[in-house]
């Protein structure tokens, strides 16, 4: 086929040119590709969920700590001086604890400026009144009203706010708030924070909205019998009006709704917030 050296050389040259053209084409094609770095969104998503988990857990723990701080009765108040120092100590322990379980730094401090001071009246199954007893006068706002009753024994309690405008009653069979009521048998829990709250029992549920009281009002209590349970009412500002011989317990000038500054930082997230344990609920 190849008759001479000149033709062989031409064939080699053409083959070389074709190979060179093919290589150049491949290079051009490969250069058309854009590099797109792979990335992983998992790390910062984990950091974000860590932040949510840590802040929620901290809030729940602070609430428990606040309840357990002053008495075994789990009543919501604290003396300001002690509480401030203990939160600082708790914050240090938390910082160390979080540092071991997550790559973040947590800081928590008591915020005295945002915290609410006020008065509290509380009791349990050993507490009774002789008829109706005035426990607060000229209250601006009820920070929290909490009652828990268990068992199937006899119960007869009435809280009367603003001379009958808002009346809470719990008897052996039902719990009522003004005109509404719900039955109970073994368990009832009343949880009222600022403008509203709810009554939960083992047989039903009742939500109630804002108090129908005037700007300032009085609160009286008629504690006839509570088989097993506890209760407390705390108010923003003011003081309780318990008589010296009252069998109800009370404190004035105490923290009734503490606020905390928390901050959480990790490589991807910076979070800071001021949380108050009890906030007005959306109805």
């Amino acid at each position: 086929m190849v008759d001479s050296n000149a033709e062989r050389a031409q064939l080699l040259l053409i083959t070389a040119l074709l190979i060179a053209t093919f290589i150049m084409s491949a290079v051009v094609l490969l250069n058309l590709l854009h590099e797109s770095p792979s990335f992983d969104t998992q790390q910062d998503s984990l950091s974000m969920s860590d932040t949510e988990r840590v802040s929620a857990q901290l809030e729940a723990d602070l609430q428990q700590y606040f309840y357990a701080h002053s008495s075994d009765e789990l009543v919501g108040y604290a003396e300001e001086g002690d509480f401030d120092g203990e939160i600082d100590e708790l914050g240090s322990r938390y910082t160390n604890l979080i540092g071991q379980s997550a790559s973040g730094h947590l800081n928590v401090e008591y915020n005295s400026g945002e915290s609410e001071m006020g008065a509290i009246v509380y009791g349990n199954e050993t507490t009774e009144t002789e008829g109706s007893e005035q426990i607060f006068t000229e209250v601006g706002e009820i920070t929290r009203f909490y009652l828990e009753a268990t068992g199937d024994g006899f119960v007869d309690i009435t809280f009367n706010m603003s001379d009958g405008t808002d009346v809470f009653e719990i008897s052996e069979e039902d719990v009522s708030w003004n005109d509404e009521s719900v039955e109970w048998d073994q368990f009832v829990e009343v949880d009222f924070t600022y403008g509203g709250g709810e009554i939960r029992t083992d047989e039903g549920y009742l939500s109630f909205s804002e108090l129908e009281t005037d700007e300032e009002f009085n609160v009286s209590a008629d504690i006839n019998h509570l088989e097993e349970g506890r209760f407390y009412i705390s108010t923003q500002g003011g003081s309780n009006s318990l008589e010296p011989d009252s069998r109800l317990n009370g404190e004035n000038g105490v923290i009734v709704n503490p606020a905390f500054d928390i901050s959480y930082t990790n490589p991807d997230i910076r979070y800071s917030n001021t949380i108050q344990l009890f906030e007005e609920r959306d109805q």
């Binding site: 031409q10 093919f22 797109s36 928390i262 979070y271």
Partner: protein, 160 residues
Amino acid sequence: MRGTESKLKKDERAVSIPLTHALTFGITAILVTLLLSSAGAFLQSQEQVVGESQLNEIGSDIASHTESLDRLNQRGDSGDASVSPAYPSAVVGDSYTISFGTDDDGGGVIEIETSLRDHSLVYPVSNETALDTDAEMESTDPVLCVRDDEITLGEENCDE
């Protein structure tokens, strides 16, 4: 007869070396051009698929972060949080811009604009906290934050 065959074998009048070369290069050029154009179109479509896939991942992640910031803001009185996700500055060679917007029903959405597509990529979010629809962030500095009860994005808004 033998004389005629011998004459034809030695007849090279229609054979031209330059013509052979021209035909060889011409056919090769046509084949290479076809190869380049078809392979180029294929690569471009594959790039677009990969690019959209990455942008979808980024969009979903931003939606997730936005909802987390929304939840963090609803906790407490003065929530202040920022997140700096590690996104690439370019997807298949193109940078992209992220902003907040609203859909036809007034709900919040995340919009990603890129030259890979004629229209923005849109991802719905479920939020209570307001979204700063005037803000936008470039892919080179991704940062989202919640400030003063508003979720915003971009370094200049979050560093204030």
